[in-house]
């Protein structure tokens, strides 16, 4: 009986080995034979969050382009870095890719207490998916300042509290950036989430609402908030009548980007294939419309352009390091 089992085991092993060899061969021979198995898309944030929803909306279109299943896998924690670390540990074969979000990606290694060795060069960039512009808003019944110019002038003389959703997040950087450039006295107060700081602004405990366009849509529609400016180069489609900082008081660029990265060392041909698929999927009008409904702006950028966007953001944060106490 035991002998029999041994023989069967050996047989199975042998078949397995032969199978493996075959697989390796086909990959060697025809490099463009990608993909042949399901692709794992790591989302480093909890299921149901903004990044997760965006990924799940994109996955079906991606599957259509690539012809294989795209499996969204949530690996939340550590401000996204649990998932990023896992992504970096994966084989650079194109079958494991993942979302990276700013500014958490960048602050994750710039924050000295995190003691991380990685940086932007640790990843290969596939494509940017979403760009969520920053907004500056106040209570709808605010009398002290009704335009961005008035707000900045007021804040130069008087301290004003602003909302953030945590240390080193976009809204935090925006307030520090404006202080540095324009000599305003904004005091960022750290909250845990939008719901929490919206209540604090509406209750009059915090003066200025700094957040993302997506988070401001509902309270603005309900007439609770009034948007004074957006922190992008150009005006945003959601608020065509709202000026940018650039055209009023001076350049302040602040947004968060969510895109797809792969571990370093991925085959350029595989990367190219992925990029083409992502471009088609992201630019699908149906997908763009679905994302817009959630207040998310699809902003496709290919590999190098995407990396340049991240580098620009890294520079902004580098400049703010002294203000963050990260030396």
């Amino acid at each position: 009986m035991k002998k029999m089992l041994c023989v069967i085991m050996v047989l199975i092993l042998a078949v397995g080995l032969v199978g493996c060899g075959k697989g390796a061969k086909t990959q060697e021979g025809a490099k463009v034979d990608f993909p042949t198995k399901p692709i794992t898309l790591i989302v480093s944030f909890a299921a149901g969050g903004g990044t997760d929803l965006g990924a799940r909306l994109l996955a079906p279109y991606l599957e259509k382009e690539l012809g294989v299943p795209v499996v969204v896998e949530n690996k939340p924690g550590g401000g996204g870095w649990i998932g990023y670390s896992e992504l970096l540990k994966a084989k650079p074969d194109g079958y494991t890719i993942g979302y990276v979000n700013t500014p958490g990606l960048i602050t994750g290694y710039l924050n000295p207490s995190a003691k991380r060795q990685q940086n932007l060069d640790s990843f290969t960039y596939v494509a940017n998916h979403v760009l969520d512009p920053g907004v500056i808003a106040v209570r709808a019944d605010e009398k002290r300042f009704t335009t961005i110019q008035e707000l900045i002038e007021y804040a130069k003389k008087q301290e004003l509290t602003t909302t953030t959703n945590g240390v080193g997040t976009g809204p935090h950087m925006a307030a520090l950036d404006i202080n540095q450039k324009m000599g305003t006295k904004f005091k960022p107060v750290h909250f845990n989430g939008t719901g929490e700081y919206l209540a604090a602004v509406l209750g009059g405990h915090i003066d200025v609402f700094i957040a993302r366009v997506g988070e401001s849509l509902e309270p603005v529609r309900d007439g609770q908030l009034k948007v004074l400016a957006v922190t992008t180069k150009e005006r945003v489609p959601q608020y065509p009548n709202v000026p940018t900082m650039n055209e009023t008081v001076g350049e302040v660029l602040n947004y968060s980007s969510r895109g797809i990265a792969a571990p370093k060392g991925i085959d350029p041909k595989v990367l190219e294939k992925l990029q083409t698929a992502f471009e088609k999927a992201m630019k699908n009008p149906e997908h763009v419309q679905k994302m817009e409904k959630m207040g998310l702006t699809v902003h496709y950028l290919k590999g190098d352009d995407y990396k340049n966007l991240l580098k620009a953001e890294e520079k902004v944060i580098q400049n703010l390091k002294p203000l963050l106490g990260w030396n």
Binding site: A46, A47, G48, G49, E73, N74, K75, P76, G77, G78, G79, W81, I82, S85, T107, N111, S113, A114, K115, E159, T161, G166, V167, G168, K187, P188, V189, H190, F191, N192, G193, T194, G195, E196, L198, A199, A200, L202, G203, G204, H205, I206, E218, L324, G325, W326
Partner: protein, 501 residues
């Protein structure tokens, strides 16, 4: 009146087949954890929480809250029949419920408990409907300083009500605080006490702590004590209604119990045991013949059983309007809200009315289901106490491990749960209360962030805390609570509330 319209919409949400089914599952499971000694509502809710991840938020919370108030009903059965409280809120029910059962009146005891629980639950819901929206509007006045002051009140009550076990309670609470400090500093972003583990950069996962400390430790203890114990055969239940002359005092006890439960439900830092003890004490005081108590007085069952259900309903008011949990079970519900992307607080009623009112409506339905389950079907439930632990415990353990893994798809949380389970086991062995650990963990985080936010707003000064009317009042109340409990501690009195939550 506005509320009434919303409530009707809520019934529409709660009345779909899927949600009705989940409500039924929730209250049935709640009855089970209530009936089974060892598993309480906190452990039960924590246990099922990870299984709700795939559900829409409203359905998930309908089910989870069903477990919570369902357990309040279920705990009674074992208290009355075999003199073992199924969960701690039914502790006082043993005092007179079991003597009633020995006189062959188990039916009446269970009947009045079910009726009282139903009335208490429904009254608390009505108060929630009437008061909730008003509180929610006022809640915008609660800025960071007011949150801080409210949490201070809650924590002083937590300490004040510890009674004899003050030292152990304090150690437990401080341990909870220490756990809350793990993770990123909310003011500077410095990573604290993570020991180089990326998993700890966001702090411990609340669910793994809750499941470990409450669920797993209970399983260990039960396994140790009762694994081979012969299940007691419960007596037959008949005559569910009390005698005619008992109705008057019972109804009065039920109304008093409702009042006590509702008021205590509003206060953070309490637990569902305190209203039952208070209600029992009051019933004994107002009774014409206090000597009947302990020998089968029906008011002694009616009052406390009502109080714990009224408490369960009223505790939802601070949760829905301020996002502050009153008790460990409610803290787990809060965890469920956050996992499903909802922020409990002043904007919840405004932003997600269909959610809030759907859950409230489901609780009416759930209470009705429970009333039916408890009156005609009491005999069926009594038999659950006979399921051997040998079969029950391993199954529960499997569900827990799966649940812990599914929070973040990570083995780290499973390990954390196991570690907290072992820790909880030893804490129970040396009679450390576990409730304060969990409450201090949750309230500690709120306290730290709201303190830091306030100090940023006030530019580092503490004086403005006393210049804002709400926060000043609350801080004075906290001071009064501490002073009074110190006074009572000095007189060697105080409520003995160190029973497990």
């Amino acid at each position: 009146m506005e509320s009434l319209g919303y409530l009707l919409q809520g019934f529409e949400t709660a009345g779909t087949w899927a949600n009705l089914l989940l409500c039924l599952i929730g209250v049935t499971f709640g009855m089970c954890v209530g009936v089974l000694p060892g598993l309480g509502p906190t452990a039960g809710t924590a246990l099922l929480l990870p299984l709700t991840f795939g559900l829409p938020p409203v359905s998930a919370v309908i089910m989870l809250s069903g477990i919570y108030y369902g357990a309040m009903y279920g705990g009674t059965i074992t208290s009355v029949l075999i003199n073992t409280p199924g969960e701690s809120a039914s502790l006082m029910t043993c005092m007179d419920g079991y003597p009633m059962a020995r006189q062959g009146r188990a039916g009446s005891a269970l009947g009045i408990a079910a009726i009282g629980s139903f009335i208490g639950g429904i009254l608390a819901l009505l108060v929630l409907i009437l008061v909730g929206p008003i509180v929610a509007k006022q809640a915008l006045k609660f800025g960071p300083p007011e949150y801080f002051a409210l949490v201070v009140v809650g924590l002083s009550l937590l300490i004040g009500l510890m009674g004899k076990s003050l030292l152990r309670g304090l150690i437990a609470a401080l341990f909870g605080f220490a756990l809350a400090l793990i993770g990123m500093d909310p003011l500077t972003g410095t990573i604290r006490f993570a020991f180089g583990m990326e998993e700890l950069e966001d702090g411990f996962e609340f669910v793994s702590i809750a499941m470990g400390l409450f669920g797993l430790s209970e399983i260990f203890i039960t396994a140790e004590e009762n694994l081979n114990a012969q299940a007691q055969k419960p007596p037959k239940i008949q005559n569910m209604l009390p005698r005619r002359e008992e109705w008057g005092p019972s109804i009065k006890a039920i109304l008093r119990g409702s009042g006590i439960g509702m008021i205590l439900g509003l206060v953070p830092g309490t637990n569902s045991v305190i209203p039952t003890i208070l209600s029992y004490t009051i019933e004994k005081k107002v009774a014409k013949d206090p000597s009947r108590f302990g020998k089968g007085a029906i008011e002694g069952v009616a009052g406390p059983e009502t109080a714990n259900n009224a408490y369960a309903g009223a505790a939802l008011i601070p949760l829905f309007t301020l996002g502050i949990p009153s008790s460990p079970s409610i803290a787990i519900l809060l965890g469920a809200f956050i996992m499903h992307g909802l922020t409990p607080g002043p904007t919840l009623l405004q932003k997600n009315p269909e959610f809030v009112w759907g859950v409230i409506a489901s609780m009416f339905i759930g209470n009705l289901i429970l009333l039916i389950m408890n009156l005609p079907l009491a005999n069926v439930w009594a038999r659950i106490t006979m399921v051997p632990f040998k079969i029950l415990l391993p199954n529960v353990l499997i569900i827990m491990i799966l649940g812990a893994y599914s929070i973040n798809n990570s083995m780290f949380d499973v390990g954390a749960m196991l570690a907290f389970g072992i820790l909880g086991y030893f804490m129970k062995k040396v009679a450390f209360p576990l409730g304060p650990v969990l409450l201090a963990f949750v309230l500690g985080k709120i306290m730290e962030t709201s303190l830091l936010k306030s100090l940023t707003i006030f530019s580092g000064s503490f004086i403005p805390f006393f210049q804002r009317p709400i926060s000043a009042t609350l801080l004075v109340v906290a001071f009064a609570i501490i002073s009074i409990s110190l006074y009572f501690a000095y007189k060697e009195k105080g409520i003995d509330a160190d029973t497990e939550i």
